[in-house]
């Protein structure tokens, strides 16, 4: 049913009728403001506010002739604009916020990815650290074992050394056949160059030592530097426990490998002597005196 304006009676064609909040009546677009339809509620309020004389003076005509809805329209437009601006700002803000959110979401995913990568790296490092730590522990264990082994070997060596020293000790009355290493050590350290002193020194250290007379066919010419006495060479010898008999010249410390039927100078290690046709130094006998 079509509604009509409560003030002018005009039928209201608008789909949404205007309703006054004060008097709750329905009005057309021209009279929906309280001032336009002389809302009794408003007039009552005005009456209280204005001087009673002025209220009385005001006729209905005056009210009709008042030039106004303009003021209403003027006052209505900024409000709508304001509302529109707010809406626009809100929309812009919303868009900005949404954009920011989108950015932050994408940022979040990037962060999340890097977080995952970091976590993976961390796990990798943790694993590596665990492995390395285990390796270190094993290495420490090995080190401890090695050190223990070292100590054991050292202890054994010390015990052995003392036993060796005990066994090595001796004097001219307690002789033993020495090791080859002992002989070389003795010869290197002993500075005497005659057989008697050398043999005495060796025996005083408990090393059994022999005087060796190497007989040769003979010649009137002596080989320079060789320990020749008459028609024989005097050497010293040891019956080593590890390398058997070893012979040395006392003056030169050369090792000699005497063999009957061979030239003496050829038997000297390193061939330090120059042979001469005038010298027949073929070995005829080897006499060992302990």
């Amino acid at each position: 049913m079509p509604k009509s304006c409560h003030h002018c009676g005009k039928e209201i064609g608008d789909p949404i009728p205007f309703k006054c909040r004060r008097c709750n009546e329905i009005f057309c677009i021209d009279h929906f403001l309280p001032e336009n339809h002389k809302c009794h509620d408003l007039s009552r309020k005005k009456r209280v506010e204005q001087e009673p004389t002025k209220i009385l003076e005001e006729t209905e005509q005056d009210i009709d002739s008042r030039p106004i809805p303009k003021t209403v329209i003027i006052s209505k437009k900024p409000k709508e604009k304001k509302n529109n601006t707010i809406v626009k700002i809100s929309i812009i803000l919303a868009i900005i916020i949404i954009l920011l959110n989108v950015i932050s979401v994408s940022g979040y995913f990037i962060l999340d990815q890097s977080y995952s990568e970091l976590k993976e790296e961390k796990h990798g490092l943790e694993d590596k650290l665990t492995t390395t730590q285990n390796t270190l522990d094993n290495a420490n264990h090995t080190l401890a074992l090695t050190e223990m082994g070292l100590e054991q070997v050292n202890t054994s060596l010390k015990e052995n050394n003392s036993e060796v020293q005990q066994l090595e000790s001796g004097d001219k009355y307690n002789l033993r056949d020495p090791l080859y290493s002992e002989v070389t050590r003795f010869i290197q350290n002993d500075n005497s160059d005659n057989e008697k002193t050398l043999i005495d020194n060796a025996k005083s250290k408990g090393l059994r030592c022999a005087l060796v007379e190497v007989g040769i066919i003979g010649s009137t010419i002596k080989i320079l530097g060789a320990p020749r006495t008459g028609e024989s060479y005097l050497l010293m010898a040891f019956n080593t426990t590890d390398k058997g008999m070893v012979y040395f010249e006392s003056k030169t410390d050369y090792r000699v490998y005497p063999e009957i039927g061979k030239s003496y100078i050829e038997c000297v290690e390193g061939n330090p002597y120059i042979s001469s046709l005038l010298v027949n130094d073929t070995i005829t006998k080897i006499l060992v005196v302990w």
Partner: protein, 212 residues
Amino acid sequence: MMTKSKKIALIGIIFIIAFSILWASVVYNKSQSISTVKIQKNNLENKLLSVDKNLDITNDLISNCNAKVDELKGRLQQNISDLNYLKFGKRYELHDPLAWEVTTFMYTDPTNRKRYDEETFNCGNYAAEVNNNAEKKGLRCAFVVVNLTKGAHALVAFYTRNMGIIYYEPQTDEKVNLQVGKDYWASCVVPSGYYYYLPDPDNVVEDFVLYW
């Protein structure tokens, strides 16, 4: 009066803001976690570096230790072998005898019964054999080389505990009163029977050396 669309928009904005705040807090938390993980990662890296360094040091120590062990093992091996040689090697206990021990030894020693041969078994061989036989029996004996006016001679000597040094001629087992400047055979050797040696100017003792 607020319209429905405005209300929806307002609610939407509030929701978006709330969501944004919530999201910001989530992002903040995430970045905090990242920072924490980064710190943890750095710590782990530092720890790993330190552990790696320790491992290197320990490995070096092990290498050094092993080298030392090997060296010591080598020495020990050598020592053990030396020890075995020393343990099982022959030992000779000698003593300075009493005069009667020497007499008994010389009497029982068969060397003097051997035939003399200038080339193959001369005085040197006699003296050497007696000397070696005496030492086999534990008697400390000296090989004596005597330089004569012409040539040389060899005999043996013992340092007896009761009669001092005594010399023996190994070819005849006779005692020798060895003196420089005297004829060796005619004056020094004490004949053990009713006989004597003829003097010879070539046999005068010029000097002598004892090889103990």
